[in-house]
């Protein structure tokens, strides 16, 4: 039987594996695979946990108060409870250094998508102009993945920017604040389209409205960010559980793939693993598929090139979506009660057209999240009042608060790259290398952000919302965790590129199946396309 070895257990890896198994391959998946802890009080809602769980304080704030956002804390506040820190915990075998980008890695079972918000936004032709194929090649795989994971959505104004696909399920009812926004949009949509180029519609999300085997329907417990106890929000972990039941699938966790071995002619013969106890292993492979995520897959390629004698290997073209957070207060919701028992993530999305004369690929995408269940102390301390007054104010405006998360596209530029630094040990002495990540924003990015931001603020005003002065936050690069582009698919025979089917040029049996292969990064959340493209790749050379 034909067999392949796959690295990683994230969104790309599990859908590549599923399609390859369907096509008759035997799949061995290698993964560090840190396990997800059991859900705490899975039967309880967000408020119910606070009300009746004996260890609610440890759950929300951590045994060492890791979940308390103290004033003056450095870095970004992600709001993940301490028991989800395993998603982003680093690995001793993968040291790194970054300039201009704050990377997040995941060695969790299920990868970074363990912490995604379920946003499902397929790419359209205008966004695929740099890709070696159009939307039609991805479309059947969007359908396949939607069937596998369960996607909610409707055809509305956003369909002009977000292609429809099969297996769309009826979305959840809107929470009161989102409903108010949608109603107001219905009254002003003509002006928003014509004057501002801003469109609003239902967000598409990988969430279940009705139960499936192993996953429950959304019960609006308000715990999305803390880890849905019903498993209603899709995670690659769900696919992995199904894969493990397949007789031709082997999951091997506790191993970090560090490099591969190549013989003359560019044939990969084995991978080098580091086990959890620090010991090493050489594992022969027939076909190797890297799907560990752009940074980790890039590192494996760089290490392997260095082992093969390349003096200073480098992968250019690293991309990431810039994100800008725009908090708003909906004046028409002031004084309304908060509905804590709600789906917590975005239920609406914004489409912002490019300025006149600009390419369609400069579309800006926004997720609209209304504030329901949330920890209050991070919000209260940011209000420019004493904490007592701030708390009183937050209580009264809580139901009126919301956030637009704007995403901006990115292009491949040679200076944004992955490299290796051996200065700590030296490869000749068997020392470990450090992954070096360099990133600089595109010139003109500020003007693009200012244009979109100006239009979004005006659109929000038309929707009866105001953006408090000084509260817009441009997130650091790396925060979106949408890394891509270091080994792009290309029609032309160039080094450090892959074929349309994801095979790395110069190698006979090595494929990339993650974001590394994206030649352009649209402004949308990329996870759904990662899954669809991985499924496509598994159909082409396999």
């Amino acid at each position: 039987m034909k067999s392949l070895t796959l690295v990683g257990s994230g969104a790309s890896a599990v859908h590549f594996a599923e399609t390859a198994l369907e096509r008759g391959w035997r799949v061995t998946l290698l993964d560090v695979g840190r396990a997800r802890p059991e859900h705490v009080g899975p039967e309880l809602s967000f408020a119910g946990l606070k009300r009746s769980h004996p260890r609610a304080s440890e759950y929300f704030l951590g045994p060492r108060f890791e979940g308390v956002l103290f004033p003056g804390a450095a870095g970004e506040y992600y709001g993940f409870p301490p028991h989800r820190e395993y998603v982003f915990a680093g690995h001793a075998g993968q040291p790194w250094r970054a300039e201009g980008l704050e990377p997040l890695f995941s060695f969790a079972r299920g990868g970074l998508a363990e912490a995604w918000t379920g946003a499902v936004f397929p790419f359209r032709d205008e966004e695929l102009v740099d890709w070696p194929f159009g939307h039609d090649r991805l479309a059947p795989h969007y359908d396949t993945v939607a069937r596998r994971i369960g996607v909610m959505g409707v055809e509305d104004d956003l369909a002009a920017f977000v292609p429809l696909h099969a297996h769309l399920e009826q979305p959840l009812d809107l929470d009161p604040h989102s409903r108010r926004l949608a109603e107001r949009y219905g009254q002003v949509r003509g002006r928003l389209h014509g004057e501002l180029g801003v469109y609003l519609g239902r967000s598409r999300a990988a969430v279940l409205g009705s139960a499936r085997p192993g996953r429950g329907a959304c019960e609006k417990k308000g715990r999305c960010l803390w880890g849905c106890p019903n498993d209603s929000i899709y995670s690659p972990l769900h696919s992995l559980r199904e894969l493990e039941a397949h007789p031709e699938f082997q999951y091997r966790s506790g191993v970090l793939v560090q490099s591969f071995e190549v013989e003359d002619g560019g044939r990969v013969t084995a991978v080098h693993l580091r086990r959890a106890d620090g010991t090493r292993e050489r594992l022969p492979v027939e076909r190797l598929v890297l799907a560990a995520g752009t940074l980790s897959s890039g590192r494996i390629v760089l290490e392997s090139l260095a082992r093969a004698g390349e003096p200073a290997p480098r992968l250019g073209g690293l991309m990431d979506n810039r994100q800008v957070l725009v908090p708003f207060v909906n004046l028409s919701m002031l004084g309304s009660p908060v509905e804590y028992e709600s789906y917590q993530y975005h239920q609406l999305a914004l489409g912002i057209t490019p300025p006149p004369g600009r390419s369609g690929r400069e579309y800006v995408h926004g997720l609209v999240t209304t504030l329901k269940s949330a920890l209050i102390h991070p919000i209260a301390q940011s209000v420019p009042f004493d904490l007592r007054s701030a708390l009183g104010l937050v209580r009264e405006v809580h139901a009126a608060l919301g956030l637009v998360n704007l995403n901006f596209h990115d292009t491949r530029r040679p200076g944004n790259a992955l490299e290796l630094d051996f200065s700590g040990g030296g490869r000749e002495r068997g020392g470990e290398s450090r992954l070096v990540i360099r990133y600089e924003p595109e010139p003109g990015e500020g003007a693009r952000i200012a244009d979109a931001l100006g239009r979004v603020k005006r659109a929000l005003w038309r929707l009866s919302c105001v953006v408090p002065p000084g509260m817009v936050h441009v997130r650091p690069m790396g925060a979106s965790v949408h890394y891509a582009g270091t080994l792009p698919m290309s029609r032309t025979e160039e080094p450090r590129t892959t074929t349309e089917s994801g095979r790395l040029r110069g190698f006979a049996n090595l494929w990339l199946a993650d974001g590394s292969t994206f030649p352009f990064l649209p402004a949308k959340n990329l996870t759904f396309t990662l899954m669809a493209n991985a499924s496509r790749l598994a159909c082409e050379d396999f």
Binding site: K50, F65, V68, Y340, Q381, F385, L387
Partner: protein
């Protein structure tokens, strides 16, 4: 290997409990539950509250004054928000709020929304802003001389955060 923390000689548990009671009354007008008191002391025992940048002489003086509760606590809270936003008092107050909002007995006081009208909310906002400015001005008379005094007094050292589970 995890190290079980023990009380440092400088840790005054009773004082910390009194502090927590004062902050809870200041923020919510109620008394904290035993669980909140215990966790408040734990946080100090683990060394996550005091940091070198947050614990100068003036910060400690603000905490001492705020412990009195009532108007004194309010003045210190207002002054700290503007002039020591990441100072020791703010850190202690934010910790207390974090503990209260996940506490079975207190969370309803934090989460409750009164369901007032939009006009009522805006009037409340204006009222809070006026009161904030008034208390800020009043506080300046007290805190400016205190700041000067503290500037000429040597600062105590801050112990590092402790490693290990509680």
């Amino acid at each position: 290997m995890a190290e079980a923390p023990t009380d440092s000689p400088a840790l005054d548990r009773e004082l910390l409990r009194r502090e927590c009671v004062a902050w809870t009354r200041h923020l919510l007008g109620v008394a904290p539950s035993p669980a909140v008191l215990e966790r408040y002391v734990d946080a100090h025992r683990l060394g996550v509250v005091e940091t070198p940048g947050s614990s100068g002489n003036f910060d400690r003086a603000l905490v001492r004054l705020a412990r009195g509760g009532g108007l004194s606590a309010r003045l210190c809270d207002v002054h700290g928000r503007l002039f020591r936003p990441a100072g020791l008092l703010r850190r202690k107050l934010v910790l207390t709020l974090a503990l209260l909002e996940v506490d079975a007995a207190a969370h309803a006081h934090v989460d409750e929304s009164r369901g007032s009208s939009a006009l009522g909310v805006l009037a409340g906002l204006a009222g809070r802003a006026c009161l904030f400015v008034l208390l800020l001005l009043l506080g300046l008379f007290v805190f400016l001389p205190l700041r000067l005094l503290c500037a000429f007094t040597p600062s105590p050292a801050v112990p590092p955060a402790r490693k290990g589970a509680p």
